[in-house]
Amino acid sequence: MALRVLGLNLIKNNINLLQNACRINATSTTQAPYCNQVTVHAAPAAVQKQKVSKAMKAYLERARENDEFMKTQDLDFQIGKRHLANMMGADPETFTQQDIDDAISYLFPSGLFDKRARPAMKSPDEVFPARKAAEFDETGRPFHSMFYTGKPNFFQLLHDIVEETNKLYDLEERMLRRGNKPDENQKIEMAGFQMLPKDQLEVKLVETIADIEYSNFVSSMERLIASPFSYKSKNFIERYLKPLIDQSKQLEVPKPKIDEQGRQYITTYECLRKTARADVTVRMPGTGKININGKDISYFDVEQCREQLLFPLQFSGLLGKVDVEANVAGGGSSGQSGAIRWGIAMSLRSFVDQEMIESMRLAGLLTRDYRRRERKKFGQEGARRKYTWKKR
């Protein structure tokens, strides 16, 4: 949760909230508010009376300015949005962010590769990154007990993890005494998950952490998960897990097209291996014909290259059931056959079931082999080999 703040929090509840974060965590699913958004309209009377520390004063000033700044930015954005709607001849009331993006990409067609570097018009909330909330009260007293560690949120998190772990140990002991065994079915499945990566954890905590600290976090989390009753604190654990992408579903399988003879076909363009480049067409009911640059398999006179073409067809069990056409240029015979092999494998995905796709992926058929020849370095005999050392 992005917490955008720079406002000063003067309500005492908030202190409790921060201090009792772990308690809340254990009971409810709400997240620990490491920071939040507060708008200060004017300093309350109490503050004026008391003596305010200098740091507090500076902080107040900054908070006010930021607030003001965000407000004007927001206003600007709203006006800009209306202007844009007017330019494009659309209704400003129903002009959505999607419309804005479309209009901008039409009006300013940038060819930059990185999409984030292209011109954009976004709400200031998205443009300006989040800040930390006030960590001390008007007298300069920090709210958080771990304020002086410099990274209170992170250490609070470690503390929480340990507390969870201890609770689970207690539970385990009690259960053991009672003779209850942990439920195997409810065990936390880690196969599809990854611990929250460092950068994401940093965003979440609004703090920068060191590598060693991150690994401390990982090991303590692992200890928590390794506990037999870890499913009891599933909510807590899941907050710091990130689902992994299923590799086999990652690439979308194209739908086959229909050619003049009513056969299904798939063309894979840009099959690259070494310096070879190919495009491969696979047609579905076929007789196992193969056509490479107008020749049959005798295009390759090396046995290994033919074997490479055979590999995906044989592996998927479609040998003799599909026709293959390939145009290939550049590179040597090994590179060319590798390029075609990849093309065949990629095209065959459309004609086999999901299980087979996963199997082909495991066999390394669907990975593009982007290894290239390593260049020779000066002062060396080759890419790695050094000249023979001779003293003189």
Binding site: G288, D296, I297, S298, R306, L310, Q314, L319, G320
Partner: protein, 401 residues
């Protein structure tokens, strides 16, 4: 390439025999029958399976036998192909499998049918086998040659003509013609080959020469002497072997035109005679063209259309040429303008890769002979894909399985 006939081995064997004196054909045949008798006996029971046929005479082959194997009896194999004619790798395979099996394939059947129904009183018809590398042109020719040997054809068989152009045993300047090159050893080897193939028939027919041949002051072959004597003379006097070949071939032409015998001419790699150059150097250190070699003339002579009572089976091959002349396997390209005009009109016979049935049978034959030991459900499909059903490629692939 490597497999393709290097008859050096067989020829050297012949040449060693030459020095010892001419061997008698009968003794060789006798020896071989003794040696092969035992395995032949036990082969009888396993002979007829799905991919085998019991008909060992190529004359009896019909489309029914297509894609089936027939066995050439060992003594016949020795007689006909003793001096070459089967590819080297195939010879090895025969040795390992302890039987000489040939597959009956459609180009051979087509040729056999032409030969059987041909009107022999007409000028000879030239059949030209052509096809990609390793599709079985030589084996098709071997099949037809077997037919010819069993049906009283005098065989004029050149196992691999490019050998003369590419790696001759010895070269010498021709005595008779100025500026020509003689290949005495090769010529003598060929005469031996001719004699081995046709000894029985020559004995039976008792062919006579039609004119006097004067070799030198003391040596001559008078009119009316037996053709065998002429051949023997050529073998004995290597110096005159080339001229003897010319004499024998012109005699054969006359005899067959006269109806005294039937002649089957089979020349493998015929296009070598029309290659732009050979590897032979003349005295002035220049490459000689094939038409300056004395051996070329008689074989061009016998492939001409001006005689009857015979058939010509020729094959044109990419690998008979040298680098730079191997773009296509088509006869016109390989023969060149001169060769085409020399042969025209000829009957081109295309030899192609295996059909599906032939391929399946070949695989089962290999499995039967324990040559393929791998077992996989899609073994045949995989081999089919890898070899593209090309016989030679299949043979190479199966080696390591």
């Amino acid at each position: 390439m490597k497999m393709f006939r290097k008859h050096v081995g067989s020829i050297s064997r012949i040449s060693t025999q030459l020095q010892r004196g001419p061997p008698t054909v009968g003794s060789i045949a006798g020896l071989s029958t003794e040696a092969e008798a035992a395995p032949k006996q036990e082969r009888v029971d396993e002979k007829i399976t799905e991919f085998r046929t019991a008909i060992t005479n190529p004359g009896g082959h019909s489309p029914l036998q297509i894609a089936k194997f027939y066995t050439i009896p060992a003594e016949e194999k020795k007689r006909i192909f003793g001096g070459g004619g089967l590819p080297k790798q195939y010879e090895l395979q025969i040795k390992t499998f302890t039987e000489a099996c040939l597959m009956v394939r459609s180009p051979a059947l087509e040729l056999l049918q032409y030969i059987k129904q041909a009107d022999l009183s007409k000028p000879v018809v030239r059949y030209v086998l052509y096809g990609e590398n390793g599709v079985g042109k030589s084996l098709t020719m071997a099949h037809v040659l077997h037919y010819g040997a069993l049906h009283d054809f005098l065989l004029v068989h050149v196992p691999w003509a490019p050998n003369w152009m590419k790696r001759p045993k010895e070269t010498a300047n021709a005595t008779g013609q100025e500026g020509f090159i003689d290949l005495p050893f090769d010529a003598a080897a060929w005469l031996v080959h001719f004699k081995t193939q046709n000894a029985q028939l020559l004995q039976k027919l008792q062919l006579k020469t039609s004119k006097d041949y004067v070799w030198s002051k003391r040596e001559s072959t008078p009119t009316g002497s037996l053709l065998t004597e002429l051949v023997e003379h050529g073998i004995a006097r290597i110096k005159y072997a080339s001229e003897t070949i010319a004499a024998v071939i012109s005699e054969l032409k006359q005899l067959s035109t006269a109806g005294q015998c039937k002649v089957m001419v089979a020349i493998d790699g015929f296009n070598a005679f029309f290659h732009p150059e050979t590897r032979i150097f003349s005295d002035n250190k220049q490459r000689v063209t094939p038409d300056r070699i004395t051996l070329t003339q008689p074989f061009l002579n016998i492939t001409n259309y001006d005689w009857t009572n015979g058939v010509c089976i020729l094959s044109v091959d990419k690998i008979a040429m040298t680098e730079g002349y191997m773009e296509s396997y088509m006869p016109r390209y390989l023969l060149g303008k001169d060769g085409f005009e020399h042969l025209d009109p000829f009957v081109p016979v295309h030899v192609d890769n295996y059909t599906d049935k032939e391929f399946t049978n070949y695989i089962s034959y290999y499995v039967d002979r324990f040559w393929i030991t791998k077992t996989a459900p899609d073994l045949e499909d995989q081999l089919k894909f890898m070899s593209n059903k090309n016989p030679y490629t299949l043979m190479q692939l199966v080696r390591g399985l």
